[in-house]
């Protein structure tokens, strides 16, 4: 009996310091499957084409509906979420690699800590009550609410950084996602009270001036976040701050 199968070529790495190598897998075709379900099938019986009984392939996932960002990897050379990469819609054999801009933990699992450090650096939050109740915050217009909603959909997946030519493993570029979060929190009427602090964080090495306007980030973002609008907007905010600091301080 001949059964339809799916071939996968996976770039593997046993630990953060070891060398990567390629392995090929063949699994039975199932209609409506996605890359995560393929990886689950491999896990059930981890047999590579050239090697019997290999370690199962490791990957990261959580929500399975493109809202958590943890399953981000290179699929056929392009960065995207594995959970929404439908087998019927992509080229085969399916080539899977970990993202190249983050340290590999194992196989397809990477450490995206640099992104979270960037969010901390730019203070991507709204300061609320401290030791005493500060009362109600100012009202937000619906227009700003709508803009902020779009920006708030960022899931820190890293697609924008993987596609960005300025974001490399050996520099300190903060990247489009962090700049967009500065815009998000500077747009918040209460968050705006700390706007200057956030701007100061992006007016240094790895900051907004390091962006080369290649605009690959906005093309790669699965959430369609208007990253290049955010970058230009933060550019304007920092330019005005620069002028203010030079002339009025």
């Amino acid at each position: 009996m001949s059964q339809e199968t799916i071939k996968l070529k996976i770039k593997r790495q046993d630990n953060p310091r070891s060398k990567s190598y390629w392995q090929e897998f063949e699994i039975p075709y199932q209609p409506l499957s996605n890359v995560i379900s393929c990886l689950q099938d491999i896990q059930k019986s981890p047999v590579a084409a050239n090697d019997l009984g290999v370690d199962p392939v490791i990957w990261d996932c959580s929500c399975l509906e493109e809202v958590c960002g943890s399953c981000t990897m290179l699929i056929n050379g392009r960065v995207r979420q594995a959970c929404t990469a439908l087998v019927d819609q992509i080229e085969k054999p399916i080539v899977l690699e970990p993202m190249s801009k983050f340290p590999v933990i194992r196989d397809l699992m990477v450490d995206r800590n640099r992104m979270f450090r960037a969010l901390k650096k730019v203070k991507a939050w709204v300061d609320i009550d401290g030791s005493q109740d500060l009362g109600e915050g100012p009202i937000m217009s619906d227009h700003i609410r709508a803009t902020r909603y779009t920006l708030s959909e960022c899931m820190t997946c890293g697609c924008c950084l993987e596609a960005c030519p300025q974001y490399t493993k050996d520099n300190s570029f903060l990247g489009a996602a962090a700049f967009s979060q500065v815009r998000l929190f500077n747009l918040h009427p209460t968050g705006a009270m700390n706007a200057d602090e956030r701007l100061e964080e992006v007016m240094g090495k790895g900051g907004i001036a390091d962006c080369g306007n290649a605009q690959a980030c906005v093309e790669a973002c699965p959430k369609n976040i208007p990253l290049t609008d955010s970058i230009a907007d933060i550019s304007r905010q920092t330019s005005l701050k620069l002028l203010k600091d030079l002339l009025l301080k």
Binding site: G77, R78, A163, P165, Q166, T168, N171, M203, G204, K205, G207, I208, A209, D210, C211, G212, N213, A214, Q215, A216, E219, A220, P226, T228, D229, I231, A232, D233, I234, S235, R236, Q237, T238, S239, L240, L242
Partner: protein
């Protein structure tokens, strides 16, 4: 003024670099190509424009402060920026990513071209002491000879295209990185306008090359000689 730290210095240098690309370098490029295209009106008109420039007071100081130093700084920063990123159009071939890559490649091309261009014009002019009214006949002889060969013509056509592209695309980058154009529509409309600017400058440059190639007339000094 408060002392600035290394982080701020990095930011200010990139901002200054961006500004230098526009003024004085970009403005110089536009004037340079514009004035050169006077050659298409006639050799005399062209000669008078060179006479005017070469009889300016403090010419050498002006050239150093407003052209050579800014160019040198912009080039050094340009190479620094070039090596700070890793081009990836092969995998992410979006139009803007192509322009980003071309901005860097043309920067390097211009750097090479300028070494050649200055080496065949300003350097021998200063070496042989061809000042004031003696400059025009000397420089026009150089250009006439330059455009008699296809090698010369091609070097100039590439140098000019690289510079006009780099300037036009740089104008767009300048407007985005200073926050002058923000929205998607504004960015698209601006790229059309700047493409026109680039096209006009390219036409001026090419017309000059064509005129020199077709009609290499020598001139005698307007005064003295």
């Amino acid at each position: 003024m408060a002392k600035i730290n290394q982080d701020q210095a990095h930011f200010y240098l990139l901002k200054i670099n961006s500004l230098l690309g526009l003024v004085p370098i970009g403005v110089f490029l536009a004037f340079h190509l514009g004035i050169n295209s006077l050659r298409t009106v006639g050799p005399l008109q062209y000669q008078w424009s060179i006479d005017l420039i070469n009889n300016m007071p403090f010419l050498f100081g002006i050239e150093v402060v407003f052209i050579y130093l800014p160019l040198l700084l912009h080039s050094l920063m340009g190479f620094y920026i070039y090596f700070s990123g890793k081009r990836n159009v092969v995998h992410y071939g979006y139009p803007r990513n192509w322009l980003y890559t071309l901005q860097r490649i043309t920067g390097v091309l211009i750097f090479g071209f300028l070494i050649y261009h200055l080496g065949t014009t300003v350097v021998p002019k200063l070496f042989y002491g061809k000042h004031q009214f003696l400059a025009a006949p000397f420089l026009m002889d150089v250009m006439n000879a330059e455009f008699q060969t296809w090698t010369g013509r091609i070097i100039y056509l590439i140098g000019i295209s690289a510079a006009t592209f780099h300037f036009a695309n740089g104008l767009w980058g300048f407007c985005v990185s200073w926050g002058i154009i923000i929205g998607r529509n504004a960015q698209r409309n601006a790229s059309v306008v700047f493409a026109m600017v680039g096209l006009v400058l390219t036409v001026l440059g090419f017309a000059t090359v064509l005129e020199f190639s077709l009609d290499p007339v020598p001139v005698t000094p307007t005064v003295g000689g």
